[in-house]
């Protein structure tokens, strides 16, 4: 049943998959990002209470949602790597980490900018802000643990353990901090009955979330490709690809062809 998945444990196959998916993710991602941002920032109706200041929601909410999603994906990749010993999964994990950290950082910054006019302060030790800050530290922890090893196989496993420990802790951190102090407004979109947001505001927001996911996906694919190339630089298929690119760049067809050895 899962047989179709197996080839992707090989880096070459994964690289090709990234290559195929990348244009789709980048084109759709960029397109939806532009549409959602322009729609949200310029055309959506202003809030009756927060007026135009609420528009930062079109950056803040997607980044906050993406930060959690990226951490979970990172932990899932780590889990796959640890359980089934898939090398590509660790590469995916470490390709995801900096994107997640960046998105978390964006959500913190936009939260601060939004907090200033609404709560009258840049930073408040509020539950969601704090747990977001902790999430940023968890990302940094995984990244710096990975960087401290020389052997990348070992680094992947170690950082993977840490990512999983973090993901088990994430709900505990979330609820403990929530219990500790709350000022942040409650959930707006994911309410069971009816979203407490008019559709003219909601649609660009949903589109913005999708576009952020697509753009993060595109960056992830690029980073995964780089990671694969960096690790597999000695493999024949990488060498073949590199020399092909060189041929195209120099327009020189006389350079020796790469060996087709496996």
């Amino acid at each position: 049943m899962w047989k179709w998945l197996h080839p992707y444990a090989k880096t070459e196959k994964s690289y090709q998959l990234c290559q195929t998916l990348l244009p789709w993710f980048s084109v759709f991602g960029l397109f939806t990002l532009i549409v959602a941002t322009v729609w949200g920032l310029a055309f959506a109706p202003a809030d009756y209470q927060q007026s135009d200041a609420f528009r930062i929601i079109y950056i803040h909410v997607p980044s906050a949602i993406l930060s959690k999603m990226l951490y979970s994906s990172m932990a899932i990749a780590a889990f796959i790597g640890l359980v089934w010993q898939v090398k590509t999964a660790f590469m995916a994990m470490i390709a995801l980490a900096p994107i997640g950290a960046m998105v978390t950082f964006v959500s913190l910054i936009t939260g601060a900018v939004w907090g200033k006019p609404m709560w009258g302060t840049w930073w408040e030790w509020d539950a969601r802000l704090t747990s977001q800050l902790i999430l940023l530290f968890l990302f940094f922890g995984v990244m710096s643990l990975y960087k401290s090893f020389d052997d990348q196989q070992q680094a992947g496993k170690a950082a993977g353990v840490m990512a999983i420990v973090g993901v088990i802790n994430l709900p505990i951190i979330h609820y403990s901090v929530e219990w500790w102090n709350t000022l942040h407004q409650g959930a707006t979109i994911l309410k069971m009955d009816k979203p407490s947001m008019p559709p003219e505001m909601l649609w660009p927001l949903l589109l913005a979330i999708v576009s952020w996911a697509l753009v993060s996906g595109a960056i992830f694919l690029l980073r995964l490709q780089n990671e694969i190339i960096r690790r597999e630089i000695k493999r024949p298929w990488v060498l073949a690809m590199v020399s092909q690119v060189q041929d195209v760049n120099t327009g020189d067809n006389n350079s020796p062809k790469p060996e087709q050895a496996q």
Partner: protein, 221 residues
């Protein structure tokens, strides 16, 4: 059980041979706590308010100082490799290590805590709550800390990395522990907080030894 018991005795003996390493985290603990009255002023009301938090933060920091000892020496002299090859269940070995570490580096902090409670003007109810949270919570520090130490033991620069890995994970413990003491200060019941800390401890007790064992295997390659 005999090899594990032997390991337990060996670790205790080794710890008592290195008295300086045993005492340094204690002194650090006292130093950190005594910095706060100097920093925020000696007003008893203020100190009483920040006291539980200060003692807990100091306990976390000094446990971070002592944690590296958990596997470092064994890793350097090769006895860790022997333990891996010995055929005893590695999670149990990790559990024994954590127990001896708690007994030698954390228990002294608990014994010292009445003095520090006195320094920070905690009243009696607050002190009992603090002690209860320390007894329930500090094993959690050792258990979770062991995972990170096992991961970083092969690296030369462990210290700051260890803090970066562990401090975010310790935050829930800090929150529940200080909120228990705050509740005690208002003479409210704090069973709920203790129950949550206990739950976290049991959860970690069930899973952390396995994670530690795996991490040791990764480090030893």
């Amino acid at each position: 059980m005999t090899p594990l018991w032997a390991l337990f005795k060996r670790d205790l003996t080794l710890a008592f041979h290195q008295r300086a390493e045993l005492i340094q985290p204690l002194i650090f603990f006292m130093l950190v706590v005594s910095l706060f009255p100097l920093g925020v002023g000696p007003n008893p009301a203020t100190l009483q308010m920040i006291g539980p938090g200060v003692i807990w933060v100091a306990a976390i920091l000094s446990s971070l100082m002592g944690l590296e000892r958990l596997f470092r020496d064994d890793f350097q002299d090769g006895s860790l490799e022997q333990l891996l090859l010995s055929g005893s269940a590695l999670p149990l070995v990790a559990l024994v290590k954590v127990t001896t570490h708690w007994l030698t580096s954390i228990l002294p902090l608990l014994i010292l805590s009445p003095l520090l409670a006195l320094f920070l003007h905690l009243n009696e109810a607050m002190y009992w709550a603090l002690l209860a949270t320390l007894i329930l919570g500090t094993p959690l520090l050792s258990l979770l800390g062991a995972i990170a130490v096992a991961l970083t033991v092969g690296l030369n620069r462990g210290g700051v990395l260890l803090a970066l890995l562990l401090v975010p994970i310790f935050i829930p413990l800090l929150i529940f522990a200080t909120s228990a003491v705050d509740a005690a200060a208002l003479s409210l019941p704090y069973n709920a907080q203790l129950a949550i800390i206990g739950a976290m401890l049991l959860f970690a007790l069930a899973l952390a030894p396995f994670a530690t064992a795996y991490a040791l295997r990764v480090s030893q390659n």
